[in-house]
Symmetry: C2
């Protein structure tokens, strides 16, 4: 089981780290010792989030097709990236991944890649209108599970998504212990 965490210039770091924390605890807390992951960027070098925080990727470019799950954060950077052909093509290389997940406006990137066609999805409430063009139905739930695509609402919903996906991968007991270790009260 290998996860690809996508990062990009202008993302919201909390959208990414909020999912990264609970999912990587599946390994660091011993529930899935075999779990592996890469932090993936389209190009080499540190990525700056919307507030200038610099995060280093493990991988730059290359196809995303070999991951069992890819996770995309949102952020204002997504608003221009949906019109960036080479970047959207790179996201589209995840087509065969069994689970493609997003937080916040990361859903717009999944939409631009064509992954939301005919499916229900959610995003940041400020981006519902934009999302409507890409999916069958915009839902206001915290996490919307459409099988191959799982989308979450705004920023802090990253944590809910991480716990939800953690439960899918390792069951409710593991997710409950991770929730406790994260001191989560949501």
């Amino acid at each position: 089981m290998k996860i690809g965490f996508v990062i990009y210039e202008g993302m919201t770091a909390l959208d990414f780290v909020g999912v990264f924390d609970p999912l990587t605890r599946l390994k660091t807390m011993g529930f899935m010792p075999e779990l592996a992951w890469d932090v993936c960027a389209f190009a080499a070098g540190a990525v700056r989030d919307g507030a200038g925080l610099r995060i280093e990727p493990d991988k730059a470019g290359g196809s995303l097709e070999h991951y069992d799950m890819v996770v995309l954060p949102g952020g204002f950077g997504s608003r221009s990236l949906i019109h960036n052909g080479p970047f959207v093509d790179w996201i589209r290389s995840a087509a065969a991944c069994p689970v493609k997940a997003s937080v916040c406006t990361g859903a717009l990137l999944l939409g631009a890649a064509g992954f939301l066609k005919g499916l229900p999805a959610t995003t940041h409430p400020g981006a519902y209108e934009l999302l409507r063009g890409y999916c069958a139905e915009v839902r206001e739930d915290r996490v919307v599970d459409a099988g191959a695509v799982v989308t979450a609402r705004g920023v802090t919903a990253a944590i809910d998504l991480g716990l939800y996906l953690g439960e899918k991968l390792a069951g409710p007991a593991a997710a409950g212990r991770i929730r406790g270790q994260m001191d989560y009260q949501g």
Copy 2:
């Protein structure tokens, strides 16, 4: 107003980013255009969090005394750093900062620096016993405001701390709008 966000090897990235997000929104959403910050590490080069995520600091070493607020994350790295004299001396250089804040076991670092003497404080529930040696009283509240020192509980309490400090700096209307933009439901 300048904030120093301390990062270190073995920290929990979500402890840091959970505070960084709401506090930096004070600037990016226009409430405090003059707000500035540095991501501060003891030494040069990227810092790896407990799950291997690499974050680049803006500043390496140097005194922390000129910041109006310093914020320390927790993480398993803190358990050894409380015994690391040069690192604790570096944290102690923040003595004159008007507000010193921590998430999770970051409170142990504030304690090792002597900042919690005679004060109430909190930390991750798993570290209450360790914290007792450093402070006057361990509280189980989500955020404990002792004036010069503000401590928060485990990992996800980072977001509560960031919203709390945001309200202290810019008032409840600004904090409410930030909470909404973060889609926070805690």
